[in-house]
Symmetry: C2
């Protein structure tokens, strides 16, 4: 096993927090006065205000660099988070210090499917999606081409328009689309409806991966409104199994044999059992359910078409040959609480060591699979010897990575618990 310093790390799942000036340079002038704007409310929280609604999730769970006592659903303002959450230049310094060469960044306040942009004026809504994608691809990722895998957000209200947006973004070098784990849960036709076919065709034509992040069905994973937060934290990554099953057995997989899907932040340790369930279901029930994958088993189809990822996941790494080493990627989840920034490389290296993972498999999981799946090649911009954990960290000497309380508003654990419960009550009330 190679030294941690020699690893090259590409993360396929991180998060950015949108800066206040997001729409300034990328939205048509005629819509500027209607664009979402970041305001500080009377409680001292930063909220995005749009279409008459104030959204309080500006920096949900962006706790990297803070002590565990400060974890929780908060923070709620930009001055409670590291600047690397919303400033790309600071972000790259945080990546350097964390040993991360490149990263794919999911959106925050617009939700994973940009559904907050949907209004009765779909021209405005579409303009906002295009502006967001232009900002993300050209300004955020474009500032450091070696360091970011660009990702677009969809127009959920119109598959044809969404397909056109995928093609437009692909022409700019973007080969990832953030989508939902369950369009039916968002009130749209399900994965089993031909409704979405124009979108799948655009993704296939452009080599765009459909990146499905956990939590993108708009539901909180809680059995009861009074379930402790630990229940949700435990279950969140496991619920993506539902999307994996729904897509695997869908017509989409058969009708679009080149379509590829990423299960973002989905973990990997559950997959061996899942694949066994798929094959057993096929063996026992296909005679009446009429499923047909040609000469293949569903587990083989899964390995060809689904990208999986993990943070450290000792079980997934131990069972990697049951999963498929060619479709496992590493992820960092910066700046959320699952992230181990800035010591993620050490924790990952320890898992590789424990299971004696050979170098070629390490390379696949740490960066080669991500490069191939997302058509991303950082080495046209940076030399390999400058891209390692060790080299990046040497370039970041002096950047402050101490774990320190950052809150301007210190909350007690009791207040944090109540914050979670209030969110749960709102989620359950909203159905």
């Amino acid at each position: 096993m190679a030294d941690v310093d020699d690893l090259i790390l590409i993360s396929v799942d991180d998060h950015l927090i949108e800066p206040p000036d997001l729409f300034a340079d990328h939205l048509d002038a005629k819509y500027q006065d209607r664009a979402p704007r970041l305001e500080r409310n009377d409680a001292g929280s930063d909220v995005w205000v749009f279409n008459g609604i104030a959204m309080e999730t500006v920096a949900l769970n962006a706790v990297a660099g803070r002590p565990k006592e400060e974890y929780g659903m908060e923070p709620q303002s930009l001055d409670e988070v590291r600047p690397g959450c919303y400033d790309v230049h600071e972000r790259v310094k945080d990546m350097d210090a964390g040993g991360v060469l490149a990263s794919m960044n999911f959106p925050s306040f617009p939700t994973f499917t940009a559904r907050v942009f949907e209004t009765s004026d779909l021209d405005l809504s579409s303009a906002l999606v295009r502006a967001y994608n232009d900002w993300h691809i050209d300004a955020w990722c474009g500032a450091y081409p070696a360091r970011f895998i660009p990702m677009a957000v969809p127009m959920m209200w119109d598959p044809e328009a969404c397909a056109a947006e995928v093609r437009r973004c692909a022409a700019k070098g973007c080969h990832s689309l953030s989508f939902t784990e369950n369009p039916a849960a968002l009130g749209r036709p399900s994965f089993h409806d031909p409704h979405w076919d124009p979108l799948w065709k655009a993704c296939v034509d452009t080599g765009t991966v459909v990146s499905i992040h956990l939590g993108s069905s708009g539901k909180m994973a809680i059995p009861a409104v009074d379930s402790p937060p630990d229940v949700m934290i435990t279950l969140q990554p496991m619920n993506i199994q539902s999307a994996a099953a729904d897509l695997l057995w869908s017509r989409v997989i058969k009708q679009f044999p080149a379509l590829r899907i990423a299960l973002s932040e989905g973990g990997t340790g559950w997959i061996p059992y899942f694949l066994d369930r798929l094959d057993r279901t096929y063996e026992m029930h296909r005679a009446w359910t009429q499923q047909d994958f040609g000469g293949k088993l569903p587990s083989e189809v899964f390995r060809e078409r689904f990208l999986t990822c993990f943070i450290s996941d000792p079980i997934g790494v131990e069972m990697r040959h049951h999963i498929g080493v060619d479709n496992m990627c590493w992820e960092a989840d910066f700046p959320h609480s699952d992230s181990m920034w800035p010591t993620a490389p050490e924790e990952l290296g320890a898992v590789f060591d424990k299971h004696d993972v050979p170098d070629d498999e390490v390379r696949k999981m740490t960066h080669e699979n991500a490069m191939r799946w997302y058509s991303f090649d950082p080495f046209t911009h940076i030399a390999r010897e400058d891209a390692t954990v060790g080299a990046l960290r040497r370039s970041a000497v002096g950047h402050d990575v101490a774990i320190t309380p950052l809150s301007t508003r210190v909350r007690t654990p009791d207040e944090k618990l109540e914050g979670f419960r209030a969110r749960a009550r709102r989620a359950v009330a909203a159905g």
Copy 2:
């Protein structure tokens, strides 16, 4: 590894179909005319009629002994299923032929929580639960004491009355209670509410295991109304993860340190990853969520308090030391489609062989754990040498175990698919 003929098999999860005369000898005379009764409707289906409602799930998925083309949500009448589903004498012959020494049988038409018995007249409702339990314990199990682990059904409408019923049944030798994976989903207080404390206390006092079967929240595991049946079949055993997490992090586990829970038909291959998630959640978040398991890790608490089970589950058996060999049991799921009757012993033996499971671990998983957890000792009634797969099968020579079409009403796969879709539509409509 021992010969399959030498295995001793106790199954902790099977199902019975209620016979028409269930209430005849066990319900007070004053309620006889209001008891549920089995009627054949105009479509030729047997339906239980009670309280003005006709229930069409008389024999849901009871397809043991039928060819795979006949699998599905049906059959819908007693003459479409093996008599061993509803006749205890035939059942024991089916068990003999399948090499199964003993079995715990969950209810069918009353649901896992007997909630169909709830009416505005709670005296009637309680009388029905007591009659059901008396029939199950005294008539069904009592006919062959070596062959059945008795299990009671609850009175969900009253924790005090339910506690009293648990004590009454325990006095008759019953140490298992069928319960729900999520009382909140049934419109009751959740696992986090002290509401249920009298029940937990009764279970602890009497050594009664709370047996939680998948599907016992009254919900169908489908992401969308038009998801293919394969999605539900794949996901069903995985959804019990939600109950496991909800209970593990609940106050119940801490307040009642002797309470034990079985995750019935839950499978085992998902557990290593689940335990890793539990411990990681505890490590990362307990500072704000205020969870406290004393000096133990949540994975240790899980191994002490939760019984798991599997049919063959090659991944679970391979990973058994991550799960806990002392809390894994075998199950048959007779007469449902996951069952491999009558060749389950051979399929189980092949998995044990593949992973070189030593004899002492085989004994634990095949029968010793079930005996200890459920306070059940068949060997006071039967000699060990007569209890093996080989001995039981020798006693059943001549019993018909051929896989043959049994349907009096043959349905095409298309009709079966439509039957599933109709159920899905009803489930989604019912919320």
